[in-house]
Amino acid sequence: MGQTIVEKILARASGKKRVSPGDLINAKIDFALGNDITAPVAINEFKKTGAEKVFDKERIALIPDHFTPNKDIQTAEQVKLMRDFARQQGIIHYYEIGRMGIEHALLPELGLVLPGEVVIGADSHTCTYGALGAFATGVGSTDLAAVMATGELWFKVPHTIRIAFHGNLPPWVGGKDLILYTIGQLGVDGARYAALEFSGSAISRLDMDARFTISNMAIEAGAKAGLIPPDEVTRKYLTGRTARPYTAVLGDEGAPVAEEYNWDVESLEPQVSLPYSPANARPVSSVAGTEIDQVVIGSCTNGRIGDLRQAAALLKGKKVHPRVRLIVIPATQAIYLQAMREGLLEIFVEAGAAVSTPTCGPCLGGHMGILAGGEVAVATTNRNFVGRMGHPESRIYLAGPAVAAASAVSGVIAHPREIGGGDAR
């Protein structure tokens, strides 16, 4: 019987010929990640294991991105704890403010996570790297501590839910719309414990930026991982990025899966997820006209260059609505520099937007754009739970960069076609 991509990766990592959904295995970890919220807890726990050295100082990344640049004394202390540990252990992949980026944009950009690998991160959006054909999953701090000490971790082999998107994407519909639609169909726990596998002609034609957006939000359907089989697009993206050898893994033809969905994208509208659940996905036209106070374009979901190009194509020569605050956050320094060279930052600033240094910041209600009670935001981020971006009585509508930019100009939630401008894709 054939095996899925996830089963093959986990079989390799656990030294077995094959594994089946439900099996409990111990897998070797190829790469591990922590951030300024989760790593301090992990470092504390690591010390308790009695280990003196991390399992491999080249296969751990510690990224200060959530509350950075440090927002207060306590967060400065947390980052310092992580920095001191990185220095003491000789951990190579610690990236300081001014060189860092949002972890899930930065690690792929640096070629640190690769097809066929097993990657864990003490951050739920670690599933982003599934876009490269890796088994990548979010864990807690104690699991990260265990990996730093031993290089291994236990897993239950997930069943696979295959989702195929067919056809040509309409204008203004991109990776974010496909994943919001998926979560809307499956529900926030529809893929609990499962690995999502995305395929189909619409996925094949997407660039890596859009693919990262899709895999990034697999967790929002409860999934353990969200994989896209590696192809020529993946290979090209990785060329020149990594010195580490890798073996791309593909699933067997006809490998049995738990569920399979086939969706046509040709009539799909840009999607918006209403408060307070990413699963409340609707076509944008159903909420068009809703008044807003703030727009955030950025995050590990949609802070990549493709996202900024899409937003800039709509904002060019226009002004942010007087009632609205637009905050644009390039996800890494390299993206920031690229956006500067392409003139995108100029478009944003001339439109009346604030452009920030890379940070997770407002996405998790950390800093750099917290909402007051009763305020409404459109955000290209990944969660719209109660209190996620600030006051428990604020409201977040999740959308892609095109809807976000169009809404910033309109002052209300708007379909991108309403404000004119070209589709940058």
Binding site: T38, K48, G50, A51, H66, D143
Partner: protein, 166 residues
């Protein structure tokens, strides 16, 4: 000593980790500090009214969202002795086992136990007794491997013992 006893506090489906411990409090990982804000965005009065030993009962997908271990830490430090839910989000499930917060999966108990009821739990047997009504429920048993981690009081102790044996 695996008998737990306490009063039930009920919550609904899909309680996310932002509701359990909002990120605005994650500039510390001191359990005592986190406990002060436990469940704040689901019920702002919870931290003030919960008593040691009390039990959280929730619907499906408890602990969805962020991987923050601060969520089970906050619940444990608030004095909650056990969380019973119809189902748990997977990262929360791992985290709870890893830090030694008892959790039990039982759709029947989750649907039947009402707020304010006194409940007794036998963790080893996975038996949940509603002392007010006399009903009993049996939770989904943990695989032996996870029971091993829980018996050691969490993953770190488990690893330390394994290391010492080598």
């Amino acid at each position: 000593m695996n008998i737990l006893k306490g009063k039930v506090w009920t919550f609904g489906d899909d309680v996310d980790t932002d509701a359990i411990i909002p990120a605005r409090y994650l500039n510390t990982f001191d359990p005592g500090e986190l406990a002060l804000h436990c469940m704040e965005d689901a019920d702002p009065t919870f931290a003030a009214k919960v008593s040691p030993g009390d039990i959280i009962v929730a619907g499906k997908n408890f602990g969805c969202g962020s991987s923050r271990e601060h969520a089970p830490l906050a619940i444990k430090a608030a004095g909650v002795s056990c969380v019973i839910a119809e189902s748990f989000a997977r990262i929360f499930y791992r985290n709870a086992i890893n830090i030694g917060l008892p959790i039990l999966e039982s759709a029947q108990a989750a649907a039947s136990l009402q707020e304010g009821r006194q409940v007794e739990i036998n963790l080893e047997e996975g038996k949940i007794s509603d002392l007010s009504s006399g009903s009993t429920f049996t939770a989904v048993p943990f695989p032996p491997f996870m029971q091993g981690i829980m018996a050691k009081g969490g993953l770190i102790n488990y690893i330390r013992e394994k290391k010492n044996k080598k």
